[in-house]
Symmetry: C2
Subunit: 337 residues, 2 copies
């Protein structure tokens, strides 16, 4: 495909002064026509807006921000942008931000605290607030960030910072109730990354719930929350003679399922498998995965909403919100052997 017209430099964008000159008014009048339309003569305004449209003028958000200190932009940082789990959060946040007339920028921290911190530093002055999903940052760092920017955490909590978290206490209880009622007397947890806050909550909840049923619980791992860790985790579970395993998340659970099939171990007949997240994929794998669903879209939306109050209404109260979870029973769990 041959180049149409070798463009050397991008066309220069029209500025407020261009519009002002062309329309024969002062720059401030143009400014007002856009940001304070009531305070300018209807006739003048129409003329100005007409000229602006003609010139393809768009207010430069950067110049605007420089003056006001507000960018009308939020950043959402997630540990793994390719993980379908976060797709829900992203989607919910994106939708809420758009509805509120705000721009959302997305950052991928690659499960690394260092990358996350770097992104926060870099984006900090350019955004009005952060949604940090499953943040890997230590508590004190989180509070430091919250001094300069509005911050809302998703599935992470620390004193003095707003957050939206899933109700893991109830969720883990649901999982264990389910397994207990199927006759399982012991539980093997295949754990995720040690820094994972949600991982810790899940483990704590499972322990508490198991105790209520006098079930024995153990935890293996840590395993990385990926398909690739499935074989190691599955093999360990088999070696331990587990009848029921609960995996850190669905990604790991699906990896486990796949490995068990390779090894000819029937699920759920010989072993029950459950996960967390109900991500896309949990319903289409075989056997379909029993898993704890979170309202990820709601989490993203609520986080943006809280952030808006924090950033623009100067609300001090760090809102925290607990979202319900629900167990989706599918085919991967069944009666104990």
């Amino acid at each position: 495909m041959p180049p149409e017209q070798p463009r050397v430099s991008p066309r220069k964008r029209a500025t407020i002064t261009d519009v002002a000159r062309t329309a024969g008014v002062a720059a401030s009048t143009v400014s007002r026509s856009f940001s304070n339309p009531d305070r300018v003569n209807v006739h003048t305004r129409d003329h100005v807006l007409g000229v602006a449209a003609e010139l393809g003028y768009t207010p430069n958000p950067m110049a605007r921000a420089l003056e006001s200190g507000r960018t009308n932009t939020f950043a959402l940082l997630v540990p793994d942008i390719t993980n379908p789990y976060f797709a829900g959060v992203i989607n919910g946040a994106e939708q809420a931000a758009t509805a509120a007339g705000r721009t959302l920028v997305l950052g991928n921290t690659r499960e690394s605290a260092a990358t996350e911190e770097q992104l926060v530093r870099r984006l900090g002055p350019a955004v009005d607030g952060f949604v940090l999903a499953a943040s890997r940052l230590p508590d004190d760092e989180l509070r430091r960030v919250a001094e300069f920017n509005a911050v809302t955490l998703v599935n992470r909590a620390t004193r003095g910072v707003s957050c939206v978290v899933a109700d893991y206490a109830s969720g883990t209880r649901q999982i264990v109730d389910h397994l207990a009622s199927l006759g399982h007397r012991s539980l093997l947890v295949l754990g995720g990354p040690p820094e994972s806050w949600s991982g810790a909550r899940r483990w704590a909840g499972l322990q508490d719930a198991a105790e209520l049923h006098n079930m024995q619980v153990r935890r293996f791992g840590p395993y990385s929350p990926t398909l690739g860790s499935g074989p190691a985790a599955a093999d360990a579970a088999v070696a331990a003679g587990a009848t029921a395993v609960v995996c850190h998340n669905d990604m790991l659970a699906i990896g486990v399922l796949r490995r068990l099939r390779e090894r000819g171990i029937a699920v759920p007949e010989q072993m029950s498998v459950a996960g967390f997240d109900d991500m896309f994929g949990a319903s289409i794998c075989t056997p379909a995965l029993t898993t704890l669903a979170e309202r990820t879209e709601d989490a993203g939306a609520h986080a943006i909403e809280i952030l808006g109050r924090l950033a623009y209404e100067r609300v001090a109260e760090p809102g925290s919100r607990v979202l319900p979870t629900q167990l989706v029973v599918r085919e991967s769990t069944g009666h104990a052997v």
Copy 2:
């Protein structure tokens, strides 16, 4: 006095002047220490950087951009941020941008040309370039955007604009060769959105390839490229007595698979099903899906790379790049009935 109003005002960020004052130098020296370190005395620079670190100073990207006209930021716009297909593109782009020291912001166009245009307008002045993945914008609009911003398209092509596209000619040929060799004499294509450029390329390629084999081809649809359209598409295929169907993408294909199972139609014994994208999920569904894999990560990375040349090196030639595709044969295709 009203009761103490809980009010959190974010701590003010240190500016270049703060650093200058504290360090006892001029603002310009601080500026140089950051952006032109060679042109300042080593000793002075160390001192300045020390003070800056102490004050937690970070150059304000917005003020910087205002002056230079460069934001060092690219925007990546995708039609559906929750579609695992784009996760690869996002990941590749994100990685390449980070490696090049650039910030990437992500936008979701929700499959809507209007939303896409709005995002382009809004983000335009704030970024140095756009990667538009599977853009829904009409050709002339695309060229207009390219006048003001560097633009690289992914899986879309139009005269005068850089792009990275998958080799659908070869890819569709691979699909049809595969089906023909299994004895299929006709092909039913379950099409996607009419505005989809890749959909059109796929359909064109399938037609050409089918002709080479003297196979009969028909196309049904359009169907939305989602799980939810699976039942409608599957039922139509069954009613038409198809032995082999090729779906617009994996999402649709998995929906079709699920519906066929519901209806007790064996895949691939009674009907073969193939998709496009090899997204996450294609390998874990049952039966595992035969699909055309694209190098989505590479696509994202290449797009960013081209964009960098366009935006910062003032390269005139709109580079275009064709990436290979490869057929991944799994369990959903088999011998014709």
